[in-house]
């Protein structure tokens, strides 16, 4: 269970964006910062990206993914950020109430003054690129294979074809080769490389893995397990060119065909998404259209360098902290106004403590049931009378107005809440 029911900043996700956001939120004055992570450990996808190349911009060092993550995990913990692991966020409301659940954390129902969305993205699958052919075992996304090979210790196959020249695809070509598998080739539907050039050099050229541009998978062959794929060359409109198909024997097809920001929760919170990026529409503070809800990292748009995700996380974390501190100030300045059992409702719902210094404040209410005799309309704080007004009767059909004046100023300063009620005179 989380230690508190209300937090300054709650960060959803503990990948590089979420960790950076939590760190910067703390450094900018947010006291209670909570990260909610659905995995058993922090770090996000960096934990399976064991290759080097992270941190060149942020640290001027060439680190593997887990080491890059470790740096931020350590900083997060040393700053006193609270972390809920193995906990899935189920719902976020536009009022920044968060509902989550997990085996050890139980049902979590908390209020955040500010939220940073850092859910990252997930891989496009076979269904999303409409790959025709049979449906045998042996078709994986590159990231799934990466998790198996680098974290869980399974080899997903022996003979690979990789569709897509994105970074994960090329990096997996090298990784699988080092682990003793054979990578037959990498196919790319675009007429150009879609990943970083240095990965083409270090992952494909270094290990003699052929790359075919303007080529895609036409068909998957195999009933129980992939036996082969049929590749085909495509024109600039991705139409197959007749006579160019080739059967390539393999037992595994990896798909490295793009990432999609993961925004189911954002939608539930009423966050508007950009149809092009698939992520929230944000301003320069990385705030979404919902006040107090910020977003950073691959959940906004897919980055090619983790260093930029960290930078975005810092920016969102800082903005979220400033928003939360402003909310806190408002909460301290505001005292809630409530109706007791005799009154149906009172407007306004809260009162700025400084308002009475500037002028009168008019409270308007309706009683629950008719009282056909003289009454006091009272405002009390912790039982002490703050103000009252005499009325000859009180009827639900007629709004009753009570004006608070500067005479109530001192009592209101001490109040934690103000309760309105009707008593017989």
């Amino acid at each position: 269970m989380p230690a508190k029911s209300k937090y300054d900043v709650v960060v959803i996700g503990s990948g590089p964006g979420g960790l950076a956001a939590a760190i910067e939120a703390k450094k900018n004055g947010a006291e209670d910062v909570l990260i909610i992570e659905r995995d058993l450990e922090m770090g996000g996808i960096l934990l399976q990206c064991i290759h080097n190349g992270f941190g060149v911009e942020v640290f001027q060092k060439d680190l593997p993914g887990p080491a890059y993550a470790q740096h931020f995990i350590n900083e997060t913990l040393s700053l006193g950020v609270e972390v809920l692991l193995d906990t899935m966020v189920l719902d976020i409301t536009p009022q920044r109430r968060i509902l989550a659940a997990g085996k050890s954390s139980g049902v979590v129902d908390i209020q955040a003054r500010a939220i940073v969305l850092a859910m990252g993205c997930r891989e496009r699958t076979r269904a999303q690129i409409r790959l025709p052919g049979m449906r045998p075992a042996g078709v994986f996304t590159a990231g799934t294979a990466q998790r198996w090979v680098n974290v869980e210790g399974y080899m997903p196959g022996k003979n690979f074809v990789i569709l897509g020249s994105g970074d994960i695809g090329m990096i997996m070509a090298r990784r699988l080769t080092l682990e003793g598998a054979h990578v037959e080739r990498v196919l790319e539907v675009m007429p150009y490389l879609t990943g970083l050039t240095r990965n083409f050099v270090q992952c494909l050229l270094d290990y003699d893995v052929p790359l075919q541009l303007s080529h895609t998978v036409n068909r998957i062959i195999g009933s129980k397990r992939v036996k082969a794929i049929e590749s085909v060359q495509v024109d600039e409109r991705w139409n197959p060119i007749p006579g160019t198909s080739e059967i390539i024997p393999c037992d595994t097809l990896l798909l490295s065909v793009g990432l999609i920001p993961e925004n189911e929760l954002s939608r539930k919170a009423g966050v508007q998404l950009d149809s092009l990026t698939g992520g929230p529409i944000v301003d320069d503070h990385l705030e979404t259209n919902v006040p107090g809800i910020f977003a950073a990292g691959n959940v906004v748009h897919v980055y090619d360098l983790v260093d930029w995700v960290t930078e975005a996380g810092y920016a969102a974390g800082k903005s979220a902290a400033l928003f939360a501190l402003h909310e806190r100030e408002k909460e301290i300045r505001h005292v809630p106004l409530r109706a007791d059992e005799t009154v149906r409702y009172v407007v306004p719902h809260s009162l700025d403590k400084d308002s009475l210094a500037e002028g009168n404040v008019r409270l308007q209410m309706r009683v629950k049931s008719p009282v056909e005799s003289p009454v006091w309309i009272e405002v009390r704080s912790n039982g002490n009378l703050v103000a009252r007004k005499a009325e000859p009767y009180a009827r639900p059909g007629e709004i009753i107005t009570l004006t608070l004046t500067s005479r109530a100023y001192d009592e209101v300063q001490k109040a934690t809440d103000l309760v309105v009620g009707v008593v017989k005179r």
Binding site: I50, P66, Q70, I73, N150, V151, G153, L178, L196, D206
Partner: protein, 119 residues
């Protein structure tokens, strides 16, 4: 004297600049690069190509069966297959800290193998 020109893609940083190398026989006479690191890379790549290598070793007593590891410095490229075989023989025991030495002076290269994370 004839100067031959060739191209090389720099892998030092994610920019991936194309370096233009002018050679006179075996001697590099000029490198057109985006920055100084590119020039250094070209000289290194043409005389003694090296790569950062990341892989995994077996770990016991941890949440996962594998510990990610990496070379503390760029490793001689021709010996990478040998390095991977050597790493297959390594078994470490949890707990281990990120950056600690898993295998010192691997294959007599003077390069240490480091843990990539706490586990």
């Amino acid at each position: 004297m004839t100067t031959e020109q060739s191209e090389l893609i720099c892998t030092t940083c994610p920019k991936g600049c194309t370096l233009v190398i002018s050679k006179d026989g075996e001697t590099i006479v000029d490198v057109k690069a985006g920055c100084k690191r590119g020039k250094d890379y070209a000289h290194q790549e043409l005389t003694d190509p090296r790569r950062m290598v990341a892989s995994t070793v077996k770990i016991e007593g941890a949440r996962h069966p594998l510990l990610p590891v990496y070379t503390a410095a760029p490793f001689p490229k021709p010996r990478i297959p040998e390095l991977v075989s050597a790493l297959r023989q390594v078994v470490v025991h949890a707990p281990i800290q990120s950056g600690s030495v898993v295998l010192p002076d691997v294959l007599g290269t003077g390069i240490d193998i480091l843990a990539s994370r706490d586990m």
